[in-house]
Amino acid sequence: MKYIDEFRDGELARHLAATIAGEARAGGEYRLMEFCGGHTHAISRYGLADLLPPAINMIHGPGCPVCVLPIGRIDQAIRLALEQRVTLCSYGDCLRVPASDGLSLLKARAQGADLRMVYSVSDALELARNNPQRQVVFLAIGFETTTPPTAVAIRQADALGVNNFSVLCNHVLTPAAMRAILAHPTGARLHGFVGPAHVSTVIGSRPYETFASDYGKPVVIAGFEPLDLLQAILMLLRQINGGRAEVENEFTRAVTRDGNRKAQAAMDEVFELRDSFEWRGLGSIPHSALKLRPRYAGFDAETRFGLDYRAVADSKGCECGAILRGEKRPQQCRIFGTACTPEHPVGSCMVSAEGACAAHYLYGRFRDTPAMAAEGA
């Protein structure tokens, strides 16, 4: 497409790709995980796999908020909407995630749940203020990028005395998930991480330092543009070849070592660590998610509606767990592209275009056919 700098892009990309190919050790294997779903999407959307030498093995990470939400959490939201008759507000991505009993939030709406798709938590707060007779609950999901806005909305609701607004908090933490992947007994044996873009603007690069110093894994934080990714891959390659493990920052135009202090302060004021939180694929991880501090407990939907959490196993045949741990690729799931498609997702990784399965289905599945694979790039 005629983007202004398309030619420059293509040329730079070819140059970077040639450098990567030149520096990758022949017969070597570099298992690199891009943690973030935004990167998974960009890799697929721009067909980067075709530019990389076979030695570079990009493994999709769990940084897709709807993917890592276990069924039990969606069930909780559905129960809240169907049994307690609240007005449930959710980001669009969550609506089609399959839950228990063949339900999803969208299907719950067809059964009479008052479900609203919102673009931001402030829309939900406004809905609450305009409908004082309704209990409005915001289904909060996401990593450190979406957490500060939730914190700000809760503070605002508190200041304004909005007592019909609450948050079903499922905010999770990036470093905890990275640690869990490295510690998992069957997890992908990784050589390095491409670190998240937006998340890192909030938390900074410091939280990744432990992965370099304690686990010996290089981390390169990268922006969302495809060229950012290629540059970060080259930087990882050089660290690995040089026997180094450091945190490097390719995304210096937006990420600092300390991150956004104001956003961190807002999160810290409103949230505290949960003892443990269940992730899809990664199991229960200690100190990996947030809940509201006692001072704000009045806005915690779990407290307000006395919700308990019931863990539910993934559907039979679904390989989402192994995919989120980086052990398997989408095409290794037996129902990929047959029983499970973006129109009829069985697992959570097929829902958002940032999920590994959806990204591969939408952009890359032609590579699975023998003729196409043989033809090469």
Partner: protein, 343 residues
């Protein structure tokens, strides 16, 4: 009452305008007939009696609902003419006549209706077609969205030309008549109140003139299609499936205006899925592609035409695209409605 003239400045559509009585006759006479005037409409009978057409008859029909009704680059009236004229033209036919049916919502301002009908008349004149039959119905307030217009087009196919989406063969060239996504983005920007630096204007236009010069070029055309709803991606997938072939596109060859590219980038949308109302996709035998391209570029609506890819053999009927970075990816059917990203 009937003696008074229709108040086009302040008047509104009333239930009686659809009841078949005098109010309806007045609306038709003073608002519609005056502006759409032609001999066939003037017959005033239950149907229009038309002369025999010199060749195979092509018929196409389409209902038009658009919100907002008026948008930069057009309105529902011009859109209803262009949409159906284009569908007839995509068959390799010369559009001759249109029939138009209106569903009006009670309370709709007559001034707006007048603007719409005038715009239809102008669009029909420019496209060289006559609106020869029509109907109006009125629905209660709240049961319509202002105006819905259904148009049916009649045209005559060029002798010896049979175009169909089933005709594509591996090796064929894929041509696009101009930049994509303009109608979809103009509507979205207007509806959602997005303001961008550069104005986004719909490309709504009648393509029958462009089709004439393409047919005149003598190039061996296989199929023509206008990538409206669902955009270029959807149209190409339809053609690939119909012909059981694959396609390989070159992303950098697809024309797009910087303003549309920027707006799409900003909103996280893919212009390949945005609607067009004045563009066409052509499949033609590879040796004729250059000649066809030259003919298209010689027409004002084809100035930015480009060869964007080729038909390939692929039993999976994948539409693939070589990206601007040199990688490959699928350009898939639209999956569900596009939902905003949160990460």
């Amino acid at each position: 009452m009937a003696g008074l003239k229709l108040d086009l400045r302040h008047g509104r559509v009333e239930m009686s305008h659809g009841s078949g009585g005098r109010a309806m006759a007045q609306l038709i006479d003073e608002l519609f007939a005056k502006r759409l005037a032609n001999d066939y409409l003037a017959q005033g009978d239950d149907g229009a009696l038309l002369p025999a057409v010199p060749g195979r008859l092509v018929v196409s029909t389409d209902s038009h609902v658009v919100s907002p009704l008026f948008f930069p680059g057009g309105d529902i009236g011009s859109l209803a003419v262009h949409g159906t004229v284009n569908d007839v033209a995509m068959m390799g036919a010369r559009p001759l006549y249109l029939a138009a049916a209106f569903i009006l919502e009670e309370g709709f301002p007559l001034a707006d209706l007048e603007r719409i009908v005038e715009s239809m008349a102008a669009a029909a004149r420019r496209a060289g077609v006559q609106i020869v039959a029509g109907d109006t119905k009125v629905v209660e307030k709240g049961k319509g969205d202002g105006v819905f217009i259904t148009t049916t087009g009649f045209g005559v196919a060029r002798d010896g030309v049979t175009l169909s989406g089933r005709n594509a063969r591996p090796g064929d060239a894929i041509l696009l008549s101009g930049s994509i996504g303009e109608h979809g983005m103009a509507i979205l920007a207007q509806r959602e109140g997005f303001a961008f630096d550069a104005p986004l204007v719909s490309d709504s236009a009648a393509l029958n003139g462009l089709v004439e010069v393409m047919l005149d070029s003598g190039a061996e055309l296989r199929a023509l299609r206008d990538p409206t709803r669902g955009g270029l991606a959807t149209t190409l997938n339809e053609l690939a499936r119909q012909s059981a072939v694959g396609m390989l596109l070159d992303e950098t060859a697809i024309p797009i205006q910087p303003a549309v590219a920027a707006a799409c980038e900003f909103l996280g949308l893919d212009p390949c899925y945005m609607a067009n109302e004045g563009k066409l996709v052509a499949l033609c035998a590879a040796p004729d592609a250059k000649r066809l391209l030259a003919a298209m570029r010689g027409h004002p609506l084809g100035q930015n035409a480009a060869i964007i890819g080729q038909v390939i053999e692929d039993s999976h009927t994948f539409v693939q695209m070589r990206t601007r970075l040199g990688g490959r990816r699928i350009l898939d059917w639209l999956n569900g409605e596009p939902l905003p990203r949160i990460c």
